[in-house]
Symmetry: C2
Protein backbone atom coordinates (compact mmCIF):
# COMPACT_ATOMS: atom_id res chain seq x y z
CA UNK A 1 0.00 0.00 0.00
CA UNK A 2 1.06 3.58 -0.45
CA UNK A 3 1.43 5.08 3.03
CA UNK A 4 -0.91 7.94 3.80
CA UNK A 5 0.67 11.11 5.17
CA UNK A 6 -0.45 10.05 8.67
CA UNK A 7 1.28 6.65 8.34
CA UNK A 8 4.36 8.34 7.01
CA UNK A 9 4.48 10.69 10.00
CA UNK A 10 4.04 7.83 12.47
CA UNK A 11 6.88 5.93 10.82
CA UNK A 12 9.23 8.82 11.39
CA UNK A 13 9.04 10.31 7.93
CA UNK A 14 10.00 13.94 8.08
CA UNK A 15 7.04 16.19 7.49
CA UNK A 16 7.49 18.76 4.72
CA UNK A 17 9.53 21.62 6.08
CA UNK A 18 10.86 19.35 8.82
CA UNK A 19 14.03 18.29 7.02
CA UNK A 20 16.94 17.42 9.33
CA UNK A 21 19.48 20.19 9.83
CA UNK A 22 22.57 19.84 7.73
CA UNK A 23 25.55 19.08 9.93
CA UNK A 24 27.32 22.24 11.12
CA UNK A 25 30.35 22.65 8.83
CA UNK A 26 32.47 24.06 11.67
CA UNK A 27 31.70 21.09 13.90
CA UNK A 28 32.44 18.80 10.99
CA UNK A 29 35.81 20.47 10.32
CA UNK A 30 36.67 20.35 14.04
CA UNK A 31 35.93 16.66 14.49
CA UNK A 32 37.78 15.77 11.29
CA UNK A 33 40.78 17.79 12.51
CA UNK A 34 41.19 16.34 15.97
CA UNK A 35 39.75 12.99 14.93
CA UNK A 36 42.44 12.42 12.33
CA UNK A 37 44.44 9.34 13.26
CA UNK A 38 46.73 10.12 16.27
CA UNK A 39 45.86 13.83 16.41
CA UNK A 40 43.44 13.41 19.32
CA UNK A 41 46.04 11.49 21.31
CA UNK A 42 48.67 14.18 20.66
CA UNK A 43 46.32 16.96 21.77
CA UNK A 44 45.34 14.93 24.85
CA UNK A 45 49.00 14.56 25.81
CA UNK A 46 49.75 18.26 25.34
CA UNK A 47 46.65 19.17 27.34
CA UNK A 48 48.57 17.84 30.34
CA UNK A 49 51.35 20.38 29.73
CA UNK A 50 54.14 21.30 27.27
CA UNK A 51 56.28 18.38 26.13
CA UNK A 52 59.52 17.84 24.31
CA UNK A 53 59.40 15.81 21.14
CA UNK A 54 60.80 12.67 22.78
CA UNK A 55 58.38 12.94 25.69
CA UNK A 56 55.47 13.31 23.30
CA UNK A 57 56.63 10.23 21.43
CA UNK A 58 56.68 8.21 24.65
CA UNK A 59 53.26 9.55 25.65
CA UNK A 60 51.71 8.18 22.44
CA UNK A 61 53.02 4.62 22.04
CA UNK A 62 52.82 3.13 18.57
CA UNK A 63 53.15 6.44 16.76
CA UNK A 64 56.05 6.56 14.27
CA UNK A 65 58.46 9.49 14.00
CA UNK A 66 57.21 10.22 10.52
CA UNK A 67 53.57 10.44 11.56
CA UNK A 68 54.30 12.32 14.80
CA UNK A 69 56.20 14.99 12.84
CA UNK A 70 53.49 15.17 10.21
CA UNK A 71 50.67 15.48 12.74
CA UNK A 72 52.57 18.13 14.70
CA UNK A 73 52.99 20.16 11.51
CA UNK A 74 49.27 19.82 10.78
CA UNK A 75 48.32 20.85 14.32
CA UNK A 76 50.72 23.82 14.13
CA UNK A 77 49.28 24.83 10.81
CA UNK A 78 45.75 24.61 12.26
CA UNK A 79 46.85 26.90 15.09
CA UNK A 80 46.41 24.33 17.87
CA UNK A 81 50.06 23.75 18.72
CA UNK A 82 53.08 26.05 19.12
CA UNK A 83 56.58 24.79 18.48
CA UNK A 84 59.32 26.52 20.41
CA UNK A 85 62.98 25.94 19.63
CA UNK A 86 65.19 26.67 22.61
CA UNK A 87 68.73 27.77 21.89
CA UNK A 88 70.46 25.21 24.05
CA UNK A 89 72.95 22.50 23.26
CA UNK A 90 71.50 20.14 22.37
CA UNK A 91 68.71 22.21 20.87
CA UNK A 92 65.43 21.59 22.67
CA UNK A 93 62.11 21.65 20.86
CA UNK A 94 59.08 22.11 23.06
CA UNK A 95 55.49 21.68 21.92
CA UNK A 96 52.60 23.29 23.72
CA UNK A 97 48.93 23.99 23.04
CA UNK A 98 48.00 27.48 21.88
CA UNK A 99 44.96 29.18 23.42
CA UNK A 100 42.93 27.71 20.57
CA UNK A 101 44.30 24.23 21.29
CA UNK A 102 43.78 24.66 25.01
CA UNK A 103 40.17 25.57 24.27
CA UNK A 104 39.63 21.91 23.35
CA UNK A 105 40.14 20.87 26.96
CA UNK A 106 36.40 20.70 27.90
CA UNK A 107 35.62 18.60 24.83
CA UNK A 108 38.56 16.30 25.56
CA UNK A 109 37.52 15.93 29.19
CA UNK A 110 33.96 15.19 28.17
CA UNK A 111 35.01 12.56 25.64
CA UNK A 112 37.36 11.08 28.24
CA UNK A 113 34.47 10.75 30.67
CA UNK A 114 32.37 9.06 28.02
CA UNK A 115 35.24 6.68 27.28
CA UNK A 116 35.56 5.83 31.00
CA UNK A 117 31.84 5.14 31.21
CA UNK A 118 31.41 3.21 27.97
CA UNK A 119 34.87 2.15 26.83
CA UNK A 120 35.86 -1.50 26.88
CA UNK B 1 76.87 25.23 27.29
CA UNK B 2 75.52 22.22 29.08
CA UNK B 3 72.31 23.27 30.81
CA UNK B 4 72.31 23.01 34.58
CA UNK B 5 69.38 21.14 36.14
CA UNK B 6 67.78 24.51 36.92
CA UNK B 7 68.04 25.60 33.27
CA UNK B 8 66.70 22.27 32.14
CA UNK B 9 63.69 22.62 34.45
CA UNK B 10 63.05 26.15 33.18
CA UNK B 11 63.23 24.86 29.63
CA UNK B 12 60.45 22.38 30.33
CA UNK B 13 62.64 19.30 30.54
CA UNK B 14 60.84 16.63 32.54
CA UNK B 15 62.55 15.88 35.81
CA UNK B 16 63.39 12.20 36.41
CA UNK B 17 60.25 10.39 37.50
CA UNK B 18 58.18 13.09 35.89
CA UNK B 19 57.57 11.30 32.59
CA UNK B 20 54.39 12.40 30.81
CA UNK B 21 51.38 10.14 31.26
CA UNK B 22 50.78 7.77 28.41
CA UNK B 23 47.61 8.73 26.59
CA UNK B 24 44.53 7.00 28.00
CA UNK B 25 43.81 4.07 25.65
CA UNK B 26 40.04 4.44 26.11
CA UNK B 27 40.17 8.10 25.18
CA UNK B 28 42.34 7.22 22.22
CA UNK B 29 39.92 4.53 21.03
CA UNK B 30 36.97 6.91 21.47
CA UNK B 31 38.47 9.77 19.49
CA UNK B 32 39.62 7.41 16.73
CA UNK B 33 36.08 5.97 16.57
CA UNK B 34 34.08 9.16 16.31
CA UNK B 35 36.90 11.02 14.58
CA UNK B 36 36.97 8.58 11.68
CA UNK B 37 36.11 10.44 8.52
CA UNK B 38 32.33 11.27 8.43
CA UNK B 39 31.53 9.38 11.65
CA UNK B 40 31.40 12.53 13.77
CA UNK B 41 29.06 14.21 11.32
CA UNK B 42 26.74 11.17 11.31
CA UNK B 43 26.63 11.05 15.11
CA UNK B 44 26.02 14.82 15.23
CA UNK B 45 23.05 14.45 12.87
CA UNK B 46 21.55 11.56 14.83
CA UNK B 47 22.02 13.49 18.07
CA UNK B 48 19.25 15.74 16.78
CA UNK B 49 16.86 12.79 16.58
CA UNK B 50 16.25 9.51 14.69
CA UNK B 51 16.59 9.76 10.93
CA UNK B 52 15.76 7.68 7.91
CA UNK B 53 18.61 6.74 5.63
CA UNK B 54 17.74 9.35 3.00
CA UNK B 55 17.39 12.07 5.61
CA UNK B 56 20.77 11.19 7.05
CA UNK B 57 22.28 11.37 3.60
CA UNK B 58 20.88 14.86 3.08
CA UNK B 59 22.08 15.94 6.53
CA UNK B 60 25.68 15.08 5.65
CA UNK B 61 26.32 16.52 2.18
CA UNK B 62 29.22 15.08 0.24
CA UNK B 63 28.99 11.63 1.82
CA UNK B 64 28.62 8.80 -0.70
CA UNK B 65 26.11 5.95 -0.29
CA UNK B 66 28.94 3.47 0.02
CA UNK B 67 30.65 5.36 2.83
CA UNK B 68 27.41 6.21 4.63
CA UNK B 69 26.44 2.52 4.71
CA UNK B 70 29.92 1.52 5.82
CA UNK B 71 30.07 4.10 8.60
CA UNK B 72 26.58 3.16 9.81
CA UNK B 73 27.63 -0.48 10.04
CA UNK B 74 30.74 0.52 11.99
CA UNK B 75 28.74 2.72 14.36
CA UNK B 76 26.18 -0.11 14.83
CA UNK B 77 28.95 -2.56 15.51
CA UNK B 78 30.48 -0.16 18.07
CA UNK B 79 27.09 0.03 19.78
CA UNK B 80 26.49 3.73 19.08
CA UNK B 81 23.67 3.40 16.55
CA UNK B 82 20.57 1.20 16.32
CA UNK B 83 19.05 0.30 12.98
CA UNK B 84 15.33 -0.35 12.96
CA UNK B 85 13.57 -1.83 9.96
CA UNK B 86 9.90 -0.92 9.88
CA UNK B 87 7.60 -3.34 8.15
CA UNK B 88 5.97 -0.88 5.81
CA UNK B 89 5.78 -0.71 2.05
CA UNK B 90 8.19 0.62 1.07
CA UNK B 91 10.29 -0.70 3.95
CA UNK B 92 11.56 2.11 6.16
CA UNK B 93 14.91 1.97 7.86
CA UNK B 94 15.37 4.31 10.80
CA UNK B 95 18.66 5.03 12.51
CA UNK B 96 18.89 6.32 16.04
CA UNK B 97 21.55 6.68 18.71
CA UNK B 98 21.70 4.03 21.42
CA UNK B 99 22.17 5.13 25.05
CA UNK B 100 25.89 4.76 24.51
CA UNK B 101 25.74 6.92 21.39
CA UNK B 102 23.53 9.46 23.12
CA UNK B 103 26.13 9.65 25.88
CA UNK B 104 28.38 11.46 23.38
CA UNK B 105 26.06 14.45 23.38
CA UNK B 106 28.03 16.52 25.98
CA UNK B 107 31.30 15.95 24.10
CA UNK B 108 29.64 16.85 20.80
CA UNK B 109 28.12 19.99 22.28
CA UNK B 110 31.45 20.99 23.76
CA UNK B 111 33.30 20.48 20.50
CA UNK B 112 30.55 22.38 18.68
CA UNK B 113 31.04 25.32 21.06
CA UNK B 114 34.78 25.23 20.46
CA UNK B 115 34.16 25.19 16.70
CA UNK B 116 31.83 28.20 16.99
CA UNK B 117 34.45 30.09 18.98
CA UNK B 118 37.52 29.16 16.93
CA UNK B 119 36.30 27.79 13.62
CA UNK B 120 36.87 29.70 10.42
Amino acid sequence: MTPSPATAAAAGEAAPGNEPRVVCPRFHAAIELIGKRWSGAIVWSLSEGPLRYGELKRAVPGLSDRLLSQRLRELESAGLVDREVQDDLPVRVIYRLTDKGDGLRPAITSLGQWAERWGE
